[in-house]
């Protein structure tokens, strides 16, 4: 399949992301219009979080941003913040303890967002990504990333190997 001009992709030079007075996320596309209360979603949240961002309004697609880095700095930072908020995936830096309770495993961890207690049902809630990272999904749907390249302390690594 060859790459040809695709109308779904918004030319970066024509796109401006901003917040209005009510702090709603807005998108302005030159020669097309302006949209308020825009939602931004990633097509590849784990495998490629800086590319292929879908902008939509009430589930109707406005267009896609191919590369975040191609946007102007203000739009880029704003969109990055929005995506970071949407795809809240704290990175686990240390595993304090893992024990069984409530027919599940309780993980007490330190993340880059602070300490947290996770209730994880079983091994099926661990997703290994192609780049070696893990995503742990707790019973409430919260997601936590374990970086494959991270060197954990001995105790944390032992717990991770045992329970993942």
């Amino acid at each position: 399949m060859t790459t040809t001009t695709d109308n779904h992709y918004i030319p970066p030079a024509k796109l401006r992301i901003f917040r209005d007075e009510s702090q709603n996320l807005c998108a302005e596309i030159k020669d097309r219009g302006t949209w308020q209360k825009v939602a931004a979603r990633l097509a590849f949240p784990y495998s490629d979080a800086e590319r292929f961002i879908l902008l939509s309004l009430n589930d109707e697609e406005i267009g896609m941003v191919r590369e975040l880095s191609e946007l102007d700095p203000v739009s880029r930072n704003l969109l990055a913040d929005v995506l970071k908020r949407r795809y809240h995936t704290p990175e686990i830096q240390r595993i304090l303890s893992v024990y069984e309770a409530q027919n599940a495993m309780i993980w007490q961890v330190e993340t880059d967002r602070g300490q947290r207690e996770l209730l994880v049902r079983d091994r099926h809630n661990f997703r290994r990504l192609k780049n070696g990272d893990f995503i742990i999904i707790d019973v409430d749907g919260n997601r936590f990333r374990v970086s494959g390249s991270r060197r954990f302390d001995g105790e944390s690594q032992k717990l991770l190997d045992l329970h993942s």
Partner: protein, 761 residues
């Protein structure tokens, strides 16, 4: 005993009884052309009759009957047909007045009879300008009488070498396979690791020797203690300590070495079996169940490895061990050694009895266990049906009944094993009792050097039991391992029917089109499924294929995908015979979307990219948009990174189908096969899928099988099939005007509300 192949004879080579009888009543100038010898008479008795075709008549003669049994003038023949029933069939000739059953035959002759019928029809065409009439209405009349020959074709498979029936699930003949060959082949997997195996065996022999030495040390210790020899005691303690250390170290190294060999062998086996499985043609996969194939790769290979690495080594080491012990025993006391083996003849009889009966006893237990598993396999997945029909008590009753039988068989089998074990221990211990008595006497009378010697002897006896037990049960273990090995080798020895033609022509695209020339096909041992199908499809054309169930639509598609080769005629792609084109290059041009969409346990991204792993994310998104899948994919929190889970269980049928269409779109094929791609979804999903398919088929050579005729709205032409033949090919409007069966099909669907599923019986 192999089956004699039935042949259609041309007079000169027909059996002598036919030639002799023909002399009696073939008239002057009458020319005999075809003969067919059958194995039943019309009354259903197994008897020989022959159908003879001359240039004037069709007649049936029998070796034990005067004159002609039945005859029909050749010029009166309007139709020749076969009626296939359960275990037998009829050849029926229809004249202008009536139907005459001319011949009856058993299922063994079904395939040959069909070939004969074709020859007969060709002869009729050539000499009478006879045209095979439209058989549709008559065939439909008899269709409900006819039995499926699928089971028969499964059972009729025979070894091409010796003619014996092949096992149901295997392609390799057990009669042709020698046990010795199986053993050597199992051991051949150790060949790449012979040095490591030699190290492992040496370590095992060291441990065995140390084990055998322990009783000797014990006996010597007793003598030293009795004699008050402190010096000897010290030396013994030191030696014993050293041996323990050596044994422990050797054991550790041995374990590592053996694990390395075992894992390497099983890796080699599994890699070989799985790779070969992937290369085998579809006919093999169609015959085997998924569970069976998984068992071959996972379980049977493990058993084979365990035997080759574990049991064979154990056998060799046990032999060495017993030899060492025997030598020491003989050096200690030849008389006691002979006494120990006194019960040996009885022991051999016992083992013979065990080996002769163990299979019968265990087989029953295995069969009942299989019945139990089978019942569970039915009723647990089918629990919805059980509950809907309130058959819970019945299911419980059946389960308890089978479970009870299994319990009884296991108790019987255990009883058998218990009797053997008891007798085995009795016989082996009888020797020990004799040694106790005569050994004790020998010590008292001074014939044995010391009490310590007796203790040594008794120690060695204790060590002998396990190896002897293993020898006794070796046959059973070997039988089980060799059964597993046969199943594994069956896979490895099965050759792909479809030749991959790695040196064949490569295909860059389909520029001209596809042509089927007199294509016929029958599955092995079965009746014809496709009969002289000829069809030409230009590049970029969309052709719909419709017809009743069993008309050969799906088989035609399988031939187009080259999962099978035609048994007659050929398929040409851009003028080149498909069977001579490089298979991989051809399949790269092809994409299929079937009724049951299959996703792998990967992300949506990887599933769409399955046939094109190098495709960019942008191309994947584009393909998903065309397939009307992008919007629902983006609704998932993880979008294209969403894990499909096992067989795509995370998604609905319609969603899975659209992901599969995206996969096909991404491949950008030149030849597209759609096999009832919308039949398993609701109307809303059907519309989404249909609009995706409309985009997909644009400018591609496409074959669409559909029961819902609305799916074919964009077809350039429609092929109407029935009973393995092409009835007519034309655009929709023309078919409506001139093809009655097609019109009836369309009208029937229109009456039900257009687009609804209708099976034409």
């Amino acid at each position: 005993m192999g089956r004699k192949k039935a042949i259609i004879w041309k007079t000169a080579t027909s059996p002598s009884w036919i030639r002799q009888r023909l002399n009696e009543f073939v008239r002057d100038g009458e020319k005999v052309t075809l003969c067919f010898e059958t194995d039943m008479n019309l009354q259903g008795e197994y008897a020989i009759e022959a159908l003879v075709v001359t240039d004037r008549r069709v007649m049936v003669i029998a070796p034990d009957q005067e004159g002609v049994v039945r005859e029909v003038p050749l010029q009166n023949v309007a139709l020749v047909k076969t009626k296939l029933l359960m275990g037998n069939g009829f050849l029926v000739i229809t004249t202008w007045q009536e139907n005459t059953e001319m011949l009856r035959f058993s299922s063994s002759l079904a395939t040959t009879l069909e070939e004969f019928k074709e020859e007969f029809e060709q002869y009729l065409m050539s000499c009478l300008a006879w045209q095979a009439p439209n058989q549709h209405e008559d065939e439909v009349e008899h269709k409900d009488e006819e039995e499926s020959t699928a089971d028969a074709s499964e059972q009729a498979r025979r070894c091409p070498k010796c003619g014996q029936l092949l096992p149901r699930d295997r392609d390799v003949c057990r009669a042709c396979l020698r046990k010795r060959d199986v053993i050597f082949r199992m051991l051949s997997y150790l060949a790449p690791y012979k040095r490591t195996v030699a190290v492992g065996m040496s370590l095992t022999c060291v441990m065995a020797t140390i084990n055998a030495a322990v009783p000797a040390l014990g006996g010597t210790l007793i003598d030293a203690v009795q004699g008050g020899a402190i010096g000897a005691l010290k030396a013994l303690a030191f030696v014993f300590g050293a041996l323990v250390l050596i044994r422990a170290t050797t054991m550790g190294i041995h374990r590592l070495v053996m694990t390395r060999i075992a894992q390497s062998v099983i890796f080699d086996l599994r890699e070989q079996v799985y790779s070969h499985l992937q290369r085998l043609s579809m006919d093999y996969h169609d015959r085997q169940s998924t569970g069976r194939l998984i068992s071959r790769v996972v379980t049977d290979t493990a058993q084979l490895q365990q035997f080759a690495v574990g049991q064979v080594q154990q056998f060799a080491v046990d032999l060495f061990f017993l030899f060492v012990i025997l030598v020491w025993m003989l050096s200690c006391s030849a008389k006691l050694t002979v006494m120990l083996w006194f019960p040996l003849p009885a022991f051999f009889l016992l083992v013979k009895w065990y080996r002769g009966n163990v299979h019968k006893v265990l087989r029953k237990a295995f069969r009942t266990r299989a019945a139990l598993s089978g019942h569970l396999a039915d009723t647990i997945p089918g629990v919805e049906v059980v509950k809907a029909f309130s058959q819970e008590e019945r299911a419980i009753g059946e389960f308890n009944s089978i479970s009870d039988s299994y319990r009884n068989e296991v108790i019987k089998a255990t009883g058998f094993s218990a009797r053997f074990s008891a007798a085995f221990i009795l016989l082996t211990q009888l020797g020990t009792v004799l040694v106790y008595w005569f050994g004790g006497l020998a010590v008292i009378h001074g014939e044995l050097a010391s009490l310590g010697d007796l203790v040594k002897f008794l120690g060695w006896i204790g060590l002998m039991y396990m190896p002897v037990w293993r020898f006794a049960t070796l046959t059973e273990q070997f039988e089980y391992a060799s059964t597993c090995a046969e199943r594994v080798f069956d896979v490895l020895d099965t050759e792909a029917v479809i030749c991959r033609n790695e040196d064949g022509d490569k295909l860059d695209g389909i520029g001209e089109g596809i042509r089927l020339e007199n294509v016929s096909f029958h599955y092995e041992g079965g009746p014809p499924v496709l009969k002289n199908v000829s069809l030409e499809v230009k590049a970029g054309e969309t052709v719909g294929i419709v017809g009743p169930s069993g008309s050969g639509k799906t088989t035609l598609i399988k031939l187009l995908c080259r999962f099978y080769d035609p048994t007659g005629g050929r398929i040409l792609v851009d003028g080149r015979d498909l069977s001579e084109i490089n298979l991989e290059a051809f399949r790269k041009q092809l994409a299929t979307v079937g009724q049951s969409p299959l996703l792998f346990r990967e992300t949506i991204l990887e599933n769409i990219r399955y046939g094109q792993p190098e495709a960019s994310q942008e191309d994947v998104i584009r393909a998903a948009r065309i397939a009307n899948a992008h919007d629902f994919i983006m609704q998932f929190p993880e979008a294209y990174d969403t894990d499909a889970r096992e067989q795509g269980s995370r998604f609905s049928g319609g969603e899975r189908q659209r992901i599969c269409i995206a996969r096909a779109v991404l491949k950008n094929p030149n030849l597209l096969i759609l096999d009832e791609a919308t039949s398993a979804v609701d109307t809303k999903n059907e519309q989404l899928i249909q609009s995706a398919l409309d985009l997909l088929i644009r400018d591609r050579t496409t074959f669409i099988i559909a029961h819902r005729l609305s799916t074919l709205r964009n077809a350039d032409r429609i092929v109407m099939m029935t009973d393995g033949k092409v009835l007519d090919v034309a655009p929709h409007a023309e078919l409506m005007a001139r093809c009655t069966p097609y019109r009836e099909l369309v009208e029937a669907q229109g009456q039900l509300g257009g687009g609804q599923l209708l099976e034409v019986a």
